[in-house]
Amino acid sequence: MKKQSAFPLALTLVVAGMAVALISEPERQWAAPPPSPGLLINGAGATFPYPIYSKWFDEYHKLHPEIQINYQSIGSGGGIRQVLAGTVDFGATDGPMSDEQLGQAKTKILHFPTVLGADVPTYNIPSFSGELKFSPEALAGIFLGKVTKWNDPVLTGTNPGVNLPGDDIVVVHRSDGSGTTYVWVDYLSKVSEEWKTKVGKGTSVNWPVGLGGKGNEGVAGLVKQTPNSIGYVELIYAIQNNMPYGRVRNSSGNFVKADLASVTAAAAAAAQEMPEDFRVSITNPGGKNAYPIASFTWLLVPAKFEDGAKRKVIVDFLHWMLNDGQKLAEPLAYAPLPKEVVAKETKAISEVK
């Protein structure tokens, strides 16, 4: 090995190494283990609330530096599986666990709603750039493949004065399993008997028609690119990306535009009849200002903790989440829980033993 030829290589490697070290941002480090005696709590699950959960766990850690809560957004399905298997201390899901799933659990699993999300119908009609009003029949018909043209009476009826084209509607839905889909099909199952029997609800369904896009960004991308298309995306996504979306008629007959207030109103309206275990769907609720396609997202917490220290932290975190945590939701475009729900949940926290 010639001595001469090794030096340039070594120099390059050293310079490259230094450059990498200088360029990488100090914040982007793996979560450092908490200072001992520290406590590490692991959770996993839904992707939809990941930004707010991430913020919460970070803020909580600042308040309690010895506690580190680690959350992996692997999907609601993963969250449910891991909490059933006991590999994580808590889970998170956009769709509540079914009775069957709860039956598989070794210890009782409690559901705690954390924030609210909503789905909005976004569309791309080349000849029209305004706001459309959708009736439940229109949305169900479109996604069932029954309403095939934009100038169908069910659409022109709710949008008088709008010159809708006679082009075919291109339906776009999610290809990946997702809580966003769950909310959408849960709503459709409530407003359309045909949808309920033919397709049903789940994080993935057998869509009668339509193209599948991966993630909110996939659906948004397909809708933006494909003329005469309609799809559904998360409200937060639509807001952050300045996407046009339509109003939906709620059960009181009002065409409501989704925003944080109307979404919180949906939960408030449902709070009256909320079951004790919070496993409730709040789509199509009563309430004149309620947005009809909204949903809770839940933390899944075992009712019994062997580890006393962990239990204390989780109980404390849940209290914090329901008070200070809720204030952090709006800046991130998540709708906070209405106070009726917060009150009910505060009582339910005592079930964690």
Partner: protein
């Protein structure tokens, strides 16, 4: 000693493959029991009512890979012949280097490229053109979205061409110069010596590169799922959306909650594994069959 170590390595690889198949088989038990052979013939994929069938995905996988190969093989072998036989050596090396770089581009980048350039191109220009000229064929009928089987096939072709080109070029360059000289000495033209002597001599290697390309195409996930439309239906049109096995597993596995659902997805991956083996086997039989009259010797 060296004999034993290399034997150990070979056995390890075999063992890993066997373990893989065993695990796939074991973890698809619920789905296999419930659906049996109907899994392969059923067209329904319904996670809500838990009816699962593999046929649309097998169809999509085979069709997109076939389209990809149909485009990539002539293009790739032709490019390889040019680079190995007809191009000046320096150009050949430079171009070969660039083509090999294409193989290193991550799949997601190809997917993004496809979404932003290929899909609009297909929707606005290529597919209407095909519809006008070849629209009498059911392959080119139906609504035009841009995304669909054709888009997936084309992006697969772009992804697998580097494999065909780089391996075929190496194999062609490895053909002994005596073969070419002998052909030329017998009065063949430059092209005749290339096409009738050199290429057949390298046939085994070229076919090997095609197998590799086919295997990549069958398993390709991200780029395909971004442009195929993700609709598990079987249609006769290339403009229609479709779905592949790899794409549906990537899309649905993390959110699959029920055990039957997960087992069905794992059974799909078992189907893909066996499909790859079958296609490879058929391709090898093809070589054997044509080897009788050819001159290729590995």
């Amino acid at each position: 000693m060296a004999h034993l170590i290399t034997l150990l390595f070979a056995s390890a690889i075999l063992l890993i493959t066997v373990l893989l198949v065993f695990e796939l088989y074991r973890n698809s038990a619920l789905a296999r029991e419930k659906f049996g052979w109907q899994f392969l013939s059923s067209r329904t994929w319904d996670p809500v009512f838990e009816q699962f069938g593999a046929l649309p995905f097998v169809f999509g996988t085979v069709v997109t890979s076939a389209v990809g190969l149909l485009i990539a093989v002539p293009l790739g072998v032709g490019a390889a012949i040019f680079l190995a036989e007809l191009a000046p050596p320096r150009i050949s090396d430079a171009l070969a280097f660039i083509i090999e770089l294409l193989a290193a581009v991550p799949s997601v980048i190809y997917g993004l490229l496809a979404i932003f350039t290929l899909v609009p191109l297909l929707r606005n220009t290529v597919q209407p053109f095909l519809k006008q000229t070849l629209g009498f064929l059911p392959l080119f009928q139906g609504p035009n979205y841009g995304v669909g089987l054709l888009a997936a096939g084309i992006i697969l072709a772009i992804m697998i061409v580097p494999f065909v080109v780089s391996i075929s070029r190496e194999v062609l360059m490895a053909v002994p110069v005596e073969q070419r000289e002998a052909a030329l000495a017998l009065g063949a033209t430059r092209w005749e010596s290339t096409w009738k002597v050199v290429v057949p001599y390298a046939r085994a290697g070229i076919l090997g590169s095609i197998f590799l390309a086919m295997a990549r195409a069958l398993g390709e996930t991200m780029a395909v799922t971004m442009v195929i439309g993700n609709d598990p239906k079987i249609t006769s049109s290339l403009f229609a959306p479709g779905y592949t096995i790899a794409a549906v597993i990537a899309n649905e596995f993390t959110e699959a909650t029920s055990d039957l659902y997960i087992h069905a997805l794992i059974e799909l991956s078992l189907v893909l594994f066996i499909l790859t083996i079958i296609l490879n086997g058929l391709a090898r039989l093809l070589i054997l069959a044509t080897q009788r009259k050819g001159t290729a010797h590995p």
